[in-house]
């Protein structure tokens, strides 16, 4: 009896260590996705409200992999960007509260993904980047929000040389400073996107399509510390 109790405790600890979920199943949290079964996803150019002028590009080039890998069809990002530019529809702010029927007609998109970068701050000495980003997926058929999450992410770009001691710490600090300078900020955006879309219901091309509704959704507003190794 005691053994079973210990075993259960261990299992619970191990299992909880890798989840940051809410208590709401995906089929409830993202009911619109399970009802509408969207296939085709249009990525809108991210809305940048941060002070980092390049944040928009970091996010734009890293959005489609997690969504495609979840099993959705993602409308070709460069081609759709070109058409949005030509149609003077490149400013996503104009559409976030507007009817999206036109995007369904032109791009064949069932849903549209909006990204709002609220903050992108870096601290040079600590080699950390602090990002606040909000994701909103809306249906082109109903204009309803069918998925939304907001993350406060601390990205740790520091390097640990493993040398130890004061000298080691100094080496680490110098290396980390260099690392943020050239750091691939693309990695920061990639980690944010990958972390957020982990709980996106599986799409048509995924082997778990239609069978993942009982899994728990992630927290609507989350905090996370991520690093380069997060995929």
């Amino acid at each position: 009896m005691k053994k079973i109790l210990y075993f259960t405790i261990i299992v619970l600890i191990v299992a909880s260590s890798c989840t940051t979920t809410s208590k709401i199943p995906k089929s409830t949290a993202y009911k619109g996705i399970y009802d509408e079964k969207p296939v085709s996803v249009l990525l809108m150019p991210p809305i940048n409200r941060s002070t980092n002028v390049e944040a928009k590009e970091y996010f734009h080039s890293t959005l489609n992999i997690p969504i495609a890998n979840a099993g959705y069809y993602v409308v070709p990002p460069f081609l759709s960007m070109e058409i949005l530019k030509r149609e003077s529809a490149y400013d996503s702010e104009l559409f976030i509260d507007a009817p999206l029927t036109k995007f369904g007609e032109v791009f064949g998109a069932d849903v549209v993904v909006f990204t709002i970068i609220h903050k992108w701050d870096k601290s040079g000495l600590a080699a950390k980047v602090y990002v606040e980003v909000e994701y909103i997926i809306k249906s082109t058929k109903t204009n309803e929000v069918i998925y939304t999450r907001k993350g406060a992410v601390t990205y740790d770009a520091s390097i640990n040389s493993g040398a130890g001691g004061l000298a080691g710490a100094l080496v680490d600090m110098a290396a980390s400073a260099i690392n943020t300078a050239v750091t691939n900020y693309v990695d920061v955006a990639r980690a944010c996107n990958a972390y957020t879309f982990k709980d996106l219901p599986a799409g048509k091309y995924s082997p778990t399509y239609g069978t993942d509704g009982a899994e728990m959704s992630g927290k609507k507003e989350f905090r996370a510390t991520l690093n380069k190794n997060y995929r």
């Binding site: 890293t62 992999i65 495609a68 460069f78 791009f107 693309v186 995929r231």
Partner: protein, 114 residues
């Protein structure tokens, strides 16, 4: 025997936390895309093209199919480089792989002919 079972169960749980093999592999898609967005110079275009070719030719994802959008975006870049026939071929390949792209891609094909 019992201990073995417990160990096995623990390992199974741990394994479930690790990432599985993805549907598609993308090479250096993000970096090459970012460099293209930022610079759009000879070098970034060349690297983008090379990565598209790599993704198309050596797909190692579980689906074994070229990921969505790759053929079409590659075709778009080829068109911009003045390679009209090759570009069109890639756009058509996108429709063949992903029929849901038809509405949009046919619109593009029409625009090219105008």
């Amino acid at each position: 025997m019992r201990k073995g079972l417990i160990l096995f169960a623990l390992l199974a749980i741990l394994a479930s936390c690790t990432t599985q093999k993805p549907l598609y592999t993308w090479g250096n898609y993000e970096t090459t895309s970012y460099n293209y967005l930022k610079n759009t110079d000879e070098k970034s275009i060349q690297e983008l093209i090379e990565n598209y070719q790599k993704v198309i030719e050596t797909q190692k994802g579980t689906r074994g199919v070229v990921p969505p959008g790759v053929c079409a975006d590659y075709g778009f870049i080829l068109l911009q480089e003045g390679k009209k026939e090759e570009g069109k071929e890639m756009l058509m390949k996108e429709i063949a792989l992903y029929p849901e792209s038809k509405i949009f891609i046919e619109r593009i094909l029409k625009m090219i002919e105008e």
